[in-house]
């Protein structure tokens, strides 16, 4: 079907959202809580666009709005840019010391009301990506708790989590580096729990926790060798080289 974004006519696929279409066609729409695989959270509100369907104009979140025939989308109207600026300003009030938020603040040239900057910096912008990552890639050990401005991401009772395997997927997807991971020579501490790190038997680098290995073994139903991703790739590449040698 035909959809217009910023005046340009595009071929849209049935069932996709405006944001998915834009990403496919390399049209820039800012989004903080969007990542491939976790696509319609609708939390940050940065991806707002103005649409026209018929006569009426509306502002919608592009990550959740499904494409329709003859939809017209504007991604950077004056009104939209002002809203995005305000959103960044609101985030800055909560996370003034966070370098990622500071970068956004500079980019949007915000004018922050100093009176209302929170005294204690909080890096989390509540995008929810860590919770989704833990649910899909980990063990569903963290979630959003409380509501309103008390909302935060934590383990139950802020306790050392019984379910967490220390895989670090949450920290990897976090756009503001809000999740604290402390590593020593042999340990990784995350979500108030200390994990034992496991080293690659080939290169000797510490690459994951024992619990992650055990969890994967449980899922696969077989034992896993302690080999890190880089070494695994190298082994696979070498295997390919060998088999090509035999062919040619």
């Amino acid at each position: 079907m035909k959809v217009k974004i910023n005046g340009k006519v595009l071929n849209a696929k049935e069932g996709e959202t405006i944001l998915q279409l834009a990403k496919r066609k390399k049209i820039e729409i800012p989004s903080l809580c969007y990542k491939k695989g976790f696509e319609d959270l609708g939390r940050c509100r940065m991806c707002l666009v103005e649409i026209k369907n018929g006569r009426r104009k509306k502002i919608v979140s592009s990550c959740a709005y499904p494409v329709k025939e003859n939809l017209e989308v504007q991604t950077h109207t004056e009104e939209i840019i002002k809203i995005r600026k305000d959103i960044v300003m609101l985030m800055y009030l909560k996370s003034p010391d966070n370098k990622y938020v500071q970068k956004l603040a500079e980019e949007y040239k915000i004018d922050e009301p100093k009176k209302y900057i929170q005294k204690i910096n909080d890096d989390c912008i509540l995008c929810g990506l860590c919770v989704e990552a833990c649910r899909e890639l980990g063990t569903n050990a963290i979630s959003m708790v409380q509501r309103g401005s008390e909302k935060k991401v934590s383990t139950p009772y802020d306790d050392e989590s019984k379910d967490c395997i220390g895989c670090g997927s949450c920290a990897e997807v976090c756009p503001t580096d809000a999740i604290k991971v402390e590593e020593t020579e042999n340990t990784r501490t995350i979500w108030n729990r200390k994990f034992e790190l496991v080293s690659c038997k080939i290169c000797g680098k510490n690459y994951t926790t024992l619990e992650t290995i055990k969890y994967s073994e449980k899922l696969l139903g077989e034992e896993i060798e302690y080999i890190c991703n880089e070494c695994k790739k190298k082994i696979t590449a070498d295997t390919f080289k060998e088999s090509f040698k035999n062919i040619y």
Binding site: I59, Y65, I83, D86, G148, S149, E150
Partner: protein, 602 residues
């Protein structure tokens, strides 16, 4: 005396809070003991609407209504009225408008102007007895529908009546039902939104407590029309009596064949389940409500695909408000043309309002759509308490706007209220007087919304918090002109950027109070003075030396002995000792005490 003698004792939550249940029990026991030729039936009923004057006791067919009845009065009522047929003057209703005592409450100004459809049975029946409901045309509409109309005809009738949702949005119910019926996707669900969360609104509570069967009947009719077999009643956690009475009604309805398999012998299967809320205002929003029923936290979703198409468990779902459901049986029984004779163009039927705040007659009122606000506040409501100056009403709760004096003659219907930038909302009408601070009202609503926000989206969660912080500063005397500009500025982003109705309408109380009462905001900011005398940091009391008659009442009332003066001579308040409690101001018989500003440390 006819054998139909009845004593109806109001047992709605309001009267229960005033010990009406003990009054009911006393009537029951004494009528058994005493020598009465024909024993009257003693029934507990739902809310009669005049909660301030409760407990309310009505005697039929004498048509005598007694108010503020205490347990000690019961024996006298039986002796004098039931046995001897005499009226007890002191228990009669005193109409403040006509300044007369009224025997039959229906003649009181409060009740005369009302037209009851949704509330037609409340106060007349025992809500736990389905027989009472059946006696008053209960389930007749359902019978008519099941055995005389095809589902399409039901949909046509509801559409033709142009019944608009009573939950606040005013969306045409018929269109909603027709759209849902058009999807060939089963199962379909029917939901009653009983999560009445607007502070100051208790219409739905009274209907669920006082006439649960009308809601049930409405839902069954809808199920027949759209093709559903399962319904849910989402009832707020705080409404324990409503849940109890609803469950009794569901159980009785099942016993009588109105719910379950093959209803009344037809091919319709439909049943209802009560789901209890958990103390979250946001669950009144339809997608959050459905998430809650599904066992999740009450976070809304962007509704670009409407819930009539994909709602509960992604199936076609009808969600309507309690009062909307209550209107369905009469519309089907008497026909859409009957309904359209009431109200005004495109706004047919009636609306139930909870009239509360600084008004003399607080309670529940049902009037035709298009009645004037002035009539509601001054006729039915009897005017402002202590005859103070009217300042504004708030309609629509935290999503609505305030209506000032200049719009007192606005008509109470969806479209007229929209036109002046306000909204109908669920029906809460909060009356405010000269001693209500509109800045504080805006702050109060932002505080409420900030706690109730689900926290999912940045604009609502952080935006409302910022608005609350600004308003708190203003009410404490720390506000600046820049603060006011920022407040007005951020409203647009919160409105346009938020995911659901809670965030989108949150700026309304702020926008409307600034629009109509900007001077009051400026007075707080520039002169550090709260003209209403509410914001304690910005209030001081001063006795006007020329007007004071030296009666000394203020000095007696003062809890900290801050007032001094000789009899018949002008008194003075010691500003250093004064704690600005306002007792002197409230009690001065000649209004000689004026409100000055506060002294704020920067």
């Amino acid at each position: 005396m006819s054998s139909n003698r009845k004593i109806l004792v109001c047992c709605g939550t309001g009267c229960l809070a005033n010990n009406s249940y003990q009054v009911y029990e006393k009537f029951k026991s004494l009528t058994k003991e005493k020598e009465i030729t024909v024993k009257p039936l003693v029934k507990p009923t739902g809310c009669n609407g005049l909660c301030e004057k409760g407990p309310v006791v009505k005697i039929l067919p004498d048509d005598i209504s007694y108010f503020k009845v205490k347990v000690e009065d019961v024996e006298e009522i039986i002796e004098k009225t039931i046995i001897k047929g005499k009226i007890i003057d002191r228990l009669l209703y005193f109409d403040t408008n006509t300044k007369t005592k009224i025997t039959d409450h229906r003649n009181a100004t409060f009740y005369k102007n009302q037209h009851k459809i949704a509330l037609r049975n409340i106060g007349e029946i025992d809500p736990s007895k389905i027989e009472d409901y059946i006696e008053r045309d209960g389930y007749e509409a359902l019978k008519k529908v099941l055995f005389n109309f095809k589902p399409e005809k039901v949909l046509d009738m509801v559409e033709e009546s142009y019944l608009r949702g009573r939950g606040g949005a005013g969306f045409p119910t018929g269109i909603k039902w027709k759209t849902c019926a058009s999807y060939d996707n089963f199962p379909k669900y029917v939901i009653c939104n009983g999560d009445e969360g607007d502070p100051g609104a208790f219409m739905d509570r009274s209907i669920m407590e006082g006439d649960p069967n009308t809601v049930i009947e409405g839902m069954i009719i809808c199920a027949y029309a759209v093709g559903s077999n399962q319904g849910y009643l989402y009832i707020r956690d705080e409404y324990e009596l409503a849940r109890k009475n609803m469950q009794i009604a569901i159980d009785s309805a099942r016993e009588h064949g109105y719910l379950g398999k093959n209803i009344l012998g037809s091919s319709l299967n439909f049943d209802l389940e009560i789901v209890r809320g958990g103390g979250a205002f946001v669950c009144g929003e339809s997608s959050a409500l459905m998430a809650s029923i599904q066992g999740k936290v009450g976070e809304p979703r962007a509704k670009y695909i409407r819930s009539v198409e994909k709602g509960l468990w992604e199936q076609p779902t009808i969600l309507n408000n309690v009062e909307t459901w209550a209107n369905i049986p009469p519309i089907l029984l008497k026909g859409p043309n009957w309904f359209k004779k009431i109200g005004v163009k495109d706004n047919y039927g009636t609306k139930v309002f909870s009239l509360v705040g600084k008004v003399k007659n607080t309670g529940l009122v049902e009037v035709p759509m298009g009645s004037s606000l002035r009539n509601l506040v001054f006729e039915i409501g009897g005017g402002i308490i202590n005859d103070k100056e009217f300042k504004a009403v708030q309609t629509g709760g935290p999503s609505g706007g305030c209506i000032p004096k200049e719009h007192l003659d606005v008509n109470l219907d969806f479209d007229s209220l929209d036109d002046i930038g306000s909204m109908m909302g669920s029906g809460g009408v909060i009356v405010m007087d000269e001693n209500t601070c509109m800045v504080e009202v805006a702050r109060y609503y932002m505080e409420f919304l900030s706690e109730e926000s689900c926290g999912k989206c940045t604009t609502c969660r952080e935006g409302i918090k910022l608005m609350l912080d600004i308003l708190t500063n203003i009410t404490e005397g720390k506000g600046t002109k820049e603060d006011l500009d920022l407040l007005i500025d951020i409203c647009h982003t919160v409105e346009k950027g938020s995911l659901c109705g809670l965030g989108q309408t949150a700026p309304n109380p702020v926008k409307t109070t600034i629009e109509f009462f900007k001077d009051e905001y400026l007075e707080h900011i520039e002169n550090h003075r709260c003209p209403a005398g509410v914001c304690k940091n910005l209030t001081s009391y001063h006795i006007n030396q020329d007007e004071c008659i030296g009666c000394g009442i203020c000095a007696k009332k003062c809890p900290v002995d801050a007032i001094s003066g000789e009899p018949k001579k002008a008194h003075k308040i010691d500003q250093n000792s004064c704690i600005t409690c306002g007792e002197c101001y409230e009690n001065c018989p000649v209004d000689a005490i004026k409100i000055g500003g506060g002294i704020v440390e920067s």
